[in-house]
């Protein structure tokens, strides 16, 4: 398709953590400049594929994890700043907690404006709405200024209109992306290619122009209702148990 060497190639590999295989026999190629939508039901292996990509791409990829991975106690500014934590010394980072550094503050202020977070920079993330947190997580990834964007459901908790806006911002600032999402329509309108996973296998790898909404809906029938995330899957404990408020033996 292109003469430029691909960014990542999976050639019949098994992916998973440790000995546990989640995705088997993966044949996929990620070319520079491609915008790829990753579809699949919860537990199909999207996160596994994304973290494998993150590992391969290293410093080329910006990363926006599932459920945001934010620190609720810290301000919006600090959460976004964390995207470039490795570029400053430990001492500078420490000082930045006490008093924001001037240059990053400027950069992040601009970014916040772009993301509709203006005026919220000093507010702890724990006090934001779900949609606002989503934007902070995206902001942190954008602040990394990498060439490729990897996102695990980065537009799951915003309405369709906002999702389009955010995807546009992401596209503008990166030369390619792989984004897991549930919205079939968006996959067709805003991406070049669609990868589909089901029960631990790659079942779809096609340009979005060759696909129709009906094909996707047939593949993932429940997707209409699937904007719900996997967050509320219950942890399986040996028996139902509610944690005690201040446990630890009060030793």
């Amino acid at each position: 398709m292109s003469l430029v060497p691909p960014l990542a190639v999976f050639d019949g590999e098994n992916l998973g953590h440790g000995d546990h295989v989640v995705l088997s026999e993966v044949h996929l190629t990620f070319h520079p400049g491609e915008r790829i939508a990753l579809l699949g039901a919860s537990g199909a292996g999207k996160s596994t594929l994304l973290s494998a990509l993150r590992q391969r791409l290293g410093k080329q990829a910006a990363w926006c994890p599932q459920h945001h991975g934010l620190v609720p106690e810290l301000a919006v500014y600090h959460n976004i700043y964390m995207g470039r934590l490795e570029q400053h010394s430990g001492l500078a980072n420490l000082w930045n907690l006490l008093r924001p550094l001037a240059a990053p503050w400027q950069d992040i202020a601009t970014l916040c404006q772009l993301l509709g977070l203006e005026g919220l920079m000093k507010r702890p993330v724990g006090q934001l709405s779900g949609g606002q947190r989503q934007r902070v997580a995206i902001g942190r990834a954008l602040y990394q200024q990498r060439s490729v964007f990897l996102g695990d459901e980065p537009v799951a908790s915003v309405d369709p209109h906002q999702a389009v806006e955010l995807l546009q911002v992401i596209h503008e600032r990166h030369q390619g992306c792989v984004i897991a999402l549930h919205q079939h329509r968006l996959a067709l309108t805003h991406f070049d290619r669609v990868w589909g996973l089901d029960k631990g296998r790659v079942v779809l790898d096609a340009p979005s122009t060759e696909l129709s909404l009906d094909t996707l809906d047939a593949l993932y029938p429940s997707a209409g209702a699937a904007t719900k995330t996997t967050m509320d899957i219950e942890q399986t404990a040996p028996w139902p148990q509610d944690s005690l408020p201040c446990p630890r033996g009060q030793a």
Binding site: W63, E86, G90, D242, G249, Q250, A251
Partner: protein, 504 residues
Amino acid sequence: MAATPISELALQDHPPRLLAGKSPGMRLARHTLTLIALALLVLPFADLHVLSRAPWGELGRIAQGLVLPHFGSVESPLSAIGLTVAVALWGTLAGMIMGFPLALVFSRSRFVRAGCAFVRAIHELFWALLFLQVFGLSALTALAALAIPYAGIFAKVYAEILEQTPTAARDALPEGTGRLSRFVYTELPLAFAQLAAYTRYRFECALRSSVLLGFVGLPTLGYQLESAFREGRYFEAGAVMWLFYLLIASLPWWAHRRLVPLLALSSLFLLGPWPDIDASLVWRFVSQDIWPQPLLAGDINGLIDWLREIPELLPVIANTLLLGLLGSVGALLVALTLWPLASHHFGNRLTQVAGKGLLIFLRSTPELMLAFVFLLLLGPSLLPAWLALALHNGALIAFLVARHADNLKLDMVGLPASGKLGYQLLPRVYPGMLALLYYRAEVILRESAILGMLGIATLGYVIDDYFQTLMFDVAFLLLLITAGLNILVDAGARRLRPKGIQPS
């Protein structure tokens, strides 16, 4: 389902035998009954005589003292309260400052873990007795006695809290982020609320310990409390007790988070007196006093004679362990009985307030204090110590369990109390209750040893003996034995604890 053979269906229909079955509830029930059976089995070996012929008159006088306290008879109450708070606050802060860095390396260093287990295993009062020998009756003795064991406790608990912080934020950081940056941006802020809550709880413990330091002569509230109780001036003892309860009850107001820095700075001036640190005294104590003379002289035969002069330790060790076991099981039974009293799921407004009051009263009163009063009433058998341990620790656990239960919403309304307790609440709170008890066992054993200082035949009794007769070498050996015993029992408790009930 249709394919299931009839015989198998019949098997399933057959109700399980009494206490049989693999369900978690049954497993815990069997575990609990085994514990209780074990306690009953060793009960005949415990000396539980009531030695007093007329405990009721004494009890009446104590009650009268509590009801009609004579505040005027307390000598300089304000400075005693001030010192109690200052020692507790600075002891906790110093413990925190030492314990926090240790927590960061806790999981990686066996040496740090062992060191922390050791300093934790020795009770604050024993540490105080040690430091008294070099720093005298000074603020330094009091602070060190609190800060050193607390450093060990903080290191362990902080490490546990940090270990259990969610990792999502850390995983989202760009690769190559330094250890310090990772810690201050993700781990610390995520764990901060829990760290602060635990530190706060420890401060409340420190207040109790600070009072107890009065028992060995530091002029905190306990100083007068001890002599007033011992000499039967119950109206004065009652007044000091009330001052202490007021101090604990008003904690949320005067120890508000925003007031802590101010409180810390101002209480610095209440600490005192500061000793002249005489390096030669410290050195003499560390290099000579605590080691057997024959050992220092390299005299092996002399060392054997030295060991021979130590009276038989087995009975006191056995008593300490016995009291630890009985105290733990007693605490479990007390907790099981008392928690519903303080839960809003049971009774009416009046019984709940009364129940909560009773629990706060029992958990705020230090074990040593309770044991001291029971000892006055019942005489120095294991009985008063057992009662004190069971009531104090049981109330503490009951208090936490009731608070936990109050946070639960019941799905079914209109159940009778027995149904609510048996089917809705107990199954949900019991695993946590048992886990708390196993954590608490370490503390109960530590207390069992220290109660000996009151004249009950546990390890503390002999340790106190040797401190009184200034034979620090033997006292030090006994402290090492006590610590070793505590570490062993703690390890055992961790192994015996039913799996999967770690509360967090």
